[in-house]
């Protein structure tokens, strides 16, 4: 009797240990697990295909969204947005909820530019987000110490650790407990959001963090979270806290 009971306790503890967060000094960017050629492509602005979106974003930033409406640059000096991507998602007073960087851009469009929100995953919103996030390149992720964000962060952490989908995998089961191992041919990264939006060779294009999460959820055979939903923003908030103080790398490159 004693043997099985003891090993039962042991296995339960092993299961709990699997949900441990990665300690500060062990946090690694997904970049570190990539092949040298992919890393070189990310490091060289001439070779990094994501830079095309950054350049497009700079154009959009300077241009009036509709004739007569102010451009983003009318309110924000070029270069003045350094640091912003390192601290988003952030609390929005008027909405009384956390919003991610894409959500912030769309709030500026509707509130200050009299323009319609840009569709998520559309080229323009990806380009503007990449342009703004690129200005934070090299800065450590620094989530704001804003207690209004705490409930959403806690929700995000709970989602990260909860088994979901037909396979009943949790994000933590792969990214906390088994990073560095392989799922088929794919090395499992720690799952940090510091390079997004990023260029993925498999996508042949730039994609947002929410697109990446949809891919992982589809792998779990789980229903994805709609971008800008409370769950999606909560997960993004927790991912940013879990990644600090890794540097922003937008636009990163992935295979």
């Amino acid at each position: 009797m004693r043997g099985p009971a003891l090993s039962g306790v042991f296995l339960l503890l092993a299961g709990l240990a699997a949900a441990q967060e990665i300690p500060f000094p062990e946090r690694r960017s997904g970049r570190d697990q990539m092949a040298p050629e992919t890393r070189a492509m990310q490091a060289d602005d001439e070779a990094n295909p994501g830079m095309l979106w950054v350049l497009d974003g700079a154009d959009l930033f300077a241009r009036a969204p509709t004739p007569g409406a102010p451009a983003c640059a009318a309110c924000h000096e070029a270069g003045a947005l350094r640091g912003v991507a390192a601290r988003y998602p952030a609390w929005d007073e008027a909405e009384a909820r956390p919003v991610d960087l894409e959500g912030r851009i769309n709030l500026c469009r509707t509130r200050h530019q009299g323009a319609a929100p840009l569709p998520r995953e559309g080229r323009d919103l990806l380009a503007l987000t990449a342009y703004i996030a690129n200005q934070s390149r090299g800065l450590p992720i620094a989530p704001p110490a804003d207690s209004r964000l705490d409930p959403a962060r806690a929700t995000g952490r709970a989602l990260f650790e909860r088994p979901l989908g037909q396979l009943r995998f949790s994000c933590a089961g792969c990214h906390d407990a088994h990073w560095g191992r392989h799922l088929g041919a794919a090395p499992i990264p720690q799952g940090h959001p510091n390079g997004y939006p990023l260029y993925r060779l498999e996508w042949q294009g730039l994609g947002s963090l929410q697109r990446r999460l949809r891919n992982c959820l589809a792998g779990m055979r789980a229903e994805p979270f709609a971008p800008d939903s409370p769950e999606a923003t909560a997960l993004a908030l927790y991912l940013m806290q879990r990644a600090a103080p890794l540097p922003v790398e937008t636009p990163a490159v992935r295979p």
Binding site: L11, L12, A14, G15, L16, A18, R162, P163, L164, G165, Q166, L167, R168, F169, G173, C174, A177, H178, R181, H182, L183, G184, A185, L217, A218, R221, A222, E223, P224
Partner: protein, 143 residues
């Protein structure tokens, strides 16, 4: 047959799992009663969209192989049919923290994608096929 009756039968067919009994660390009797076919089982086990086994296990002769679970190259010499059955049906009964999915359980899963709702990962006959294949993985047998 009237359409709503057909719908009910289809729904029943999708959700009703064959009953089984756990004895010790095994499920001694085949799900649904019949033995499986090793050739079909090999195809299921090596299909990364169906059995998913090679995503985590080496030793099944499929590529590419992940390294999240133990090498199964000689698992047929280590475990008998009943022990393999429980590990496939619901390995979480043995280790609640295991990463290995429970292949024959439809309940207890949250936020399942619409395409996968209310179904086990593999059907009873497919589980038996995979078991028949795993039993061939022995030191003396060529894969």
């Amino acid at each position: 047959m009237r359409p709503h009756l057909l719908a009910i039968l289809v729904a029943l067919g999708q959700t009703a799992l064959a009953p089984y009994r756990i004895e010790g660390d095994a499920i001694p009797l085949p799900l649904g009663g019949a033995a499986g076919d090793p050739a079909r089982g090999r195809a299921i086990a090596r299909d990364p969209r169906k059995g998913l086994c090679t995503l985590c296990h080496a030793g099944l002769g499929g590529a590419p192989e992940g390294d999240l679970g133990p090498d199964l190259a000689q698992v047929g010499a280590r475990l008998d049919a009943g022990q393999l059955r429980l590990r496939l049906v619901d390995g979480r009964a043995l280790n609640p923290g295991t990463l290995m999915p429970s292949y024959y359980r439809a309940e207890g899963a949250e936020r399942v994608g619409a395409a996968w709702a209310d179904r086990p990962i593999l059907e009873a006959d497919e589980i038996e096929d995979v078991i028949a294949f795993l039993l061939t993985l022995r030191p003396e047998a060529p894969r």
